[in-house]
Every structure is written in C-alpha cells, then in structure tokens.
C-alpha cells in the first residue's frame, strides 16, 4: 500500500452509498478542489458504487472496495466489485445504454463527465474494477477545504 492509499470495504447495500461519498469527499480535501469539483467527485463515486450494488451484485450480498489515493497531484479513486462483470464494456459505456428497465443509462456518462479519466476493466465472472482520476483545475471558484495557516498580522 503506498503512503497515501486509503482502503475502504463495505457491504453492497444502498445504505452505504452516503458513507462512500462522505469518505471520498473528505479525502478529496487533500487536493485543492473547488466546491463544484467536490460535488462532481461525489456524484461519480455515487454512480460507481451504485453500479456495483445494482449491477455487479444484482442487489444481493457482496463486498464493495474503494481505494483512494493522491498520485502526482491527481485524485485516484478505485471502485471494485467481485460481481457478475460486464460482457461488453464499450457498449455498457454508451450513453443511455442500460440493462435495467427503470434506469437511465447515465452512470458511466456522469463518471466520464465529472472525472478526467475513467478506466473500466471488467469481464464476466471477473467482477468490475473501475479507476477514476481527477486533477484540481484551480481556475478560481470557492475553495472546498480551508488552508493551513493565515499570515501573521
């Protein structure tokens, strides 16, 4: 485990979504993300973890693993399930594609729009590990975290 890597494992249940978001956004304060960027991270994590719960484990039991790291100034979030896997990743990533009647097929769309990089490395039987990366833009915007020191007066 590298110096900055945090690992979280939790049961595949919707009740744990909010906690996964809190952990990811609290961790993200280590970088200089704006409030808007932090909200984007929160949505991306919510989509990845929801997919693990709904699709990966088909709402049955299972463990979702989330890893958080800062690598060269970039936030890296892994979300891993050991569920059913995705037969055709390219197709699954198409906007509006979904295998659930009552869903919108927007999960991957949001992950891609809100993070700088998204890697999905899934296969049937293998489960679905995804990696998302985001670098703070720092182009103004209200700071999400407060700094460490104020100038002396």
């Amino acid at each position: 485990m590298d110096a900055e890597r945090i690992i979280v494992e939790f049961p595949s249940r919707p009740e744990n979504l909010a906690l996964a978001r809190v952990i990811a956004t609290a961790f993200a304060t280590r970088l200089d993300f704006t409030v808007a960027e932090t909200e984007e991270i929160s949505v991306a994590v919510s989509e990845a973890v929801s997919n693990a719960i709904i699709h990966g484990y088909r709402e049955g039991p299972g463990i979702v693993r989330m890893e958080l790291a800062v690598v060269d100034g970039v936030l890296e979030i892994l979300v891993i399930d050991h569920g059913c896997g995705i037969p055709d990743v390219d197709r699954a990533r198409q906007p509006a594609y979904t295998t659930s009647e009552d869903r919108m097929g927007l999960g991957f769309v949001f992950m891609e729009s809100f993070m700088d990089e998204l890697e999905v490395d899934s296969a049937p039987g293998k489960g679905t590990p995804i990696v998302m990366r985001k670098r703070p833009e720092r182009e103004g915007g209200e700071r999400a975290a407060t700094g460490q020191s104020l100038p002396d007066r």
Binding site: P14, S42, M104, G107
Partner: protein, 110 residues
C-alpha cells in the same frame, strides 16, 4: 432524505430535503405515488432542500414525470439549487421537466 407533502386541490406539492440516491429513491417513489393515488393529478416538486442527486435520483424523478403525464397531469419543479439544476440539464430531464424559481410560480403554472 426527508419528504413533506401537501395536497392543494388536485395538485400534490412535495418538498424534498437531503439526498436523493439509490438508498432513498424508493421512499421518494412510494411517498409520492401513495399521495398521487389519493387523488392528486398534478405534481409540484420543491427541490430547495435537495443537497445531492445522482442518476438513481434523477431516474426516480423521471419515473414520477412519466406516471403523472400518462394520467394527463402536469409535473414541474421549483426552487432547484444550481448544482442539482446542472444534473437535471446534463441528464436531459430539464427538456421535459419545467422548472420555476419559486414554488408559488410553479403552483400558478398548473
């Protein structure tokens, strides 16, 4: 998530607070559908207190929109916080769901 509902004539007014995601979508859906079944035709969602939404939450809103429309009702949203509006717009939901700055305006429209 907290949901507060009020029936005004044939309009159901629902004020949503907190987070609308996979863990709360069912409560949202069931509360709204139960109250609609009591005789309301139209639906006004006040989203002023909504602090988080993702595609599961947007899906639940779209589901209510379809249900209300199928029965010939109108559904609109009011007082949508900027971050939520951004997701409504990215999801395409904004194209079908009219949004108003204030609840009173939304109620008047119906």
């Amino acid at each position: 998530m907290r949901i507060q509902t009020e029936i005004i004539g044939d309009v159901l007014l629902a004020r949503i607070e907190g987070e609308l995601d996979l863990s709360t979508a069912a409560l949202f859906r069931e509360t709204i559908d139960r109250r609609l079944a009591e005789g309301a035709r139209h639906l006004v969602l006040n989203l002023a207190g909504l602090t988080f939404i993702d595609s599961s939450g947007l899906g639940a809103i779209l589901g209510r929109y379809r249900r209300v429309s199928e029965r010939g009702g109108k559904m609109v949203a009011a007082d949508v916080p900027a971050p939520i509006m951004r997701l409504l717009s990215l999801s395409g939901l904004q194209r079908v769901l009219l949004t108003f700055a204030a609840e009173a305006e939304a109620l008047q429209h119906i």
